[in-house]
Amino acid sequence: MPSIDNESAILATDLQKSYGSEVALDSLTLDIPHGTVYGFLGPNGAGKTTTMRLLTGLSDPDRGSVRVCGVEASDRRAIAGRVGYLPETPPLYDEFSAREQLEYVADLRDISRSDARERIDEYLDQFELADDADKRIDGYSKGMKQKTAFIQSVLHDPDVLYLDEPTSGLDPRAARTIRESITAFADAGTTVFLSTHILPVVEAVADEIGVLFDGRLVAEGTPTEVQARAETDETGSLEDAFLAVTSEPETGMMSQSE
């Protein structure tokens, strides 16, 4: 069970990041409470992956700060056990089998051998990988790799879980397994920061969403609120809202405070 601090799970203040003359992220502020599933949306090139890297401490911002469960993201020793991260490209070693990979992760995360074995078996069963657990990862399909990487990111029971396109390229059954896992983790108190293009996934699991466009947060709130503020008609979906807010770059941020 994740530990709960008084401070927000993710608190990002005035984040700015530039690559040369191009501003990738401009004055991004996020305040995400514990146990929330936060859907992070944005078109390609909006700055979502940059945001993820800043929030995990894997990249330093040019300006602003990030705190995760009250800990500065730049304090790598303190943050290590609190966050799990599944990037878009699964960080796996092709030369290992899934079981070896997960045992290696458990070893680096100081999970006791017996606990690790128990958790790994449980997750492998849950994600229907048990029969292939001893095959080398280079022989895995994209879905199998994604599921292994997902297990790897949650094996140490993190307080905050960052997921970058976790269901991309998965078959419906695997996608559903991951979706259900996200909900289960959130119910257990884990904060999930979910970046994806698949809007039905966000609609199904997110408590709150933020829409990033051109490096700026242009909409934030519950899915219903964002739909309402995007001034789509009553039958409008989240997709309509997304298209509406990401086609008007001059529009100021629409938030609950408006």
Binding site: S59, V83, Y85, L108
Partner: protein, 536 residues
């Protein structure tokens, strides 16, 4: 978290990285075969080295009497440091699956892990032969404990050199990241430096053999006495031991002190490198543009194969790293550089023309022909389903290669006119060179299609798909040998030194038949492979 904990994590990472390397080496039968050949070639040298080491051990009366001991110690230490720097530039500057590792442990643990794994890999490559020589020497000396004392003395030295080499390598990587233009410049400079080094090594060897210069005083200038005295501690307790000097103890103390300092410097450097995004124009979000569409100049525009060739040339121009496999020729051509120095001025013209003719067929075939299917791997689903026949695709590749190679033969012949070649001689040489370009390119696409390589690998610091080493070797020997033979016949014909005897006619006829027949057969095979190719 303490240093002890980081060391523990580092050793786990090191073990995992080492196992991964081992599985990569052994997981590919082609690599295993290559390793076996390497072991066979270099293992043969041990047959001479081991008896020599034994005799050396038996005859050694003091450490200073061991031939080249002092410069060998100093140069080996410098060599290790350079290896550490270069390996950091090439491989140890990052860790695979960094998103997971860097979120699990501190960068210091990662540094320890990377260096540990590298030391394991180096031990795997060099540990057995070096160990065998040392053990044999120790037995010759009658002091088997020398092996253990040698290990104890070497460990702090190797650790210190490895850690500081890593720190220096990371510093260079940071500098290159800050100055992308310098990085782009460094690649061609590095290539020229290496060619220069190969040529210089040939000249130096020749100079030492031919002149009266003694190697011993030359090498003794490389000796760093305190370091030599420290390594001399290895012999404590043996018949050749020398008194322990203050300098030796001082070096030991310095090495032990420098290891944690080097580790701290390295950790600080990698933290900045890994957690600061690149400033490099190429990896930033800036997009390179190409306006005007796919406009093909004449004469390429005249045929579909020509337009395909132009596409291949444009891609190569925009990503020259794809052609890094061409550099392998340096090892074969550079030694001949000394010939240019040796030859008198009246032969320099034919030499330049000849060099052009030798290089031109190599470029025509090797540039785009040695892995035609592998180079197109991502595009094959498109290429195999388009209307253009396989012959057009293959001819496009031939043309692209010839477009690179033929001008080299032409320029070589033109330049040679300025060095005494007559215009008819230069013209004939150029024509022969151009013909050989065609035969080499046709031969290349055939052997390249026979053994396609799809997976990317690190080659000369670039992650790219390179042709099989076996295919490159076969191409080099067949085309190189054939070209040189043809060149000699051409030259003798031009200077009127050929007598048309029946034996010559048979030999020359066979040569022509083989050149044309093998090339055409290879080309036909490439067509067949392209037509029947199915995706795995």
């Amino acid at each position: 978290m303490s240093l002890r904990q980081d060391v523990r994590y580092g050793l786990r990472i090191g073990r995992a990285e080492f196992i991964r390397s081992l599985r990569r080496y052994l997981g590919n039968p082609r690599r295993v075969f290559g390793l076996l050949i390497t072991a066979l070639v270099f293992g043969g040298a041990l047959l001479f080295a081991l008896p020599a080491a034994y005799v050396l051990g038996q005859t050694a009366r003091s450490v200073t009497a061991i031939p080249f001991f002092a410069p060998a110690v100093t140069l080996a230490t410098l060599g290790l440091f350079s290896t550490s720097v270069f390996r950091t530039l090439e491989r140890l500057g990052h860790i695979d699956a960094s998103e997971f590792v860097l979120l699990a442990v501190h960068p210091r643990a990662v540094v320890i892990g990377l260096i540990t794994a590298e030391m394991g890999r180096l031990s795997l490559w060099f540990g057995i032969p070096v160990g065998a020589v040392v053990i044999t020497f120790a037995f010759g000396l009658g002091a088997p404990l020398l092996v253990a004392s040698g290990g104890v003395v070497a460990l702090p030295l190797i650790c210190c050199v490895a850690v500081w080499g890593h720190a220096a390598g990371i510093a260079v990587l940071r500098l290159l990241r800050q100055a992308p233009r310098l990085r782009r410049l460094l690649k061609p400079v590095g290539i020229f430096a290496m060619v220069g080094l190969v040529v210089a090594s040939q000249l130096a060897g020749q100079l030492l053999v031919e002149s009266d210069i003694s190697a011993r005083p030359l090498f003794s200038t490389f000796a760093f006495d305190p370091l030599v005295e420290y390594v001399g501690l290895t012999f404590v307790g043996t018949p050749v031991s020398q008194p322990i000097s203050l300098a030796a103890v001082g070096v030991l103390a310095a090495l032990i002190a420098l290891i944690p300092i080097g580790l701290a410097v390295s950790t600080k450097q990698v933290s900045t490198l890994w957690f600061t995004d690149p400033v490099d124009e190429n990896t930033s979000t800036q997009v390179r543009r190409s306006s005007g569409g796919f406009s093909v100049p004449r004469p390429f525009a005249w045929t579909k194969a020509g337009r395909i060739a132009w596409g291949i040339l444009v891609r190569a121009r925009r990503d020259p790293a794809e052609l890094s496999h061409l550099l392998i020729v340096v090892f074969f051509i550079a030694p001949f550089g000394t010939l240019l120095v040796e030859f008198s001025a009246d032969a320099i013209g034919p030499l330049i023309a000849g060099a052009g003719v030798v290089l031109a067929p190599y470029l025509s075939g090797a540039t785009f022909g040695l892995n035609p299917l592998g180079d197109e791997r991502p595009q094959l689903p498109l290429l195999l389903l388009i209307e253009a026949p396989a012959a057009t695709l293959v001819r496009g590749r031939l043309l692209a290669g010839i477009a690179i190679g033929a001008p080299v033969a032409l320029v070589g012949s033109l330049v040679s006119i300025g060095f005494g070649m007559t215009v008819p001689q230069a013209s004939v040489t150029a024509a022969v060179g151009a013909t050989m370009c065609l035969t080499a390119a046709m031969f290349a696409v055939g052997i390249g299609s026979a053994y396609p390589i799809y997976e990317e690998r690190k080659f000369w610091g670039t992650e790219t798909v390179v042709p099989s080493t076996l295919v490159m070797m076969v191409f080099l020997f067949v085309v190189g040998g054939g070209t040189v033979l043809g060149l000699f016949v051409t030259w003798f014909a031009l200077t009127g030194n050929i007598v048309l005897t029946p034996v010559f006619n048979v030999f020359f006829g066979t040569y022509l038949l083989l050149t044309v027949g093998v090339s055409y057969g290879s080309y036909r095979y490439a067509l067949r492979r392209h037509r029947r190719y199915t995706l795995a």
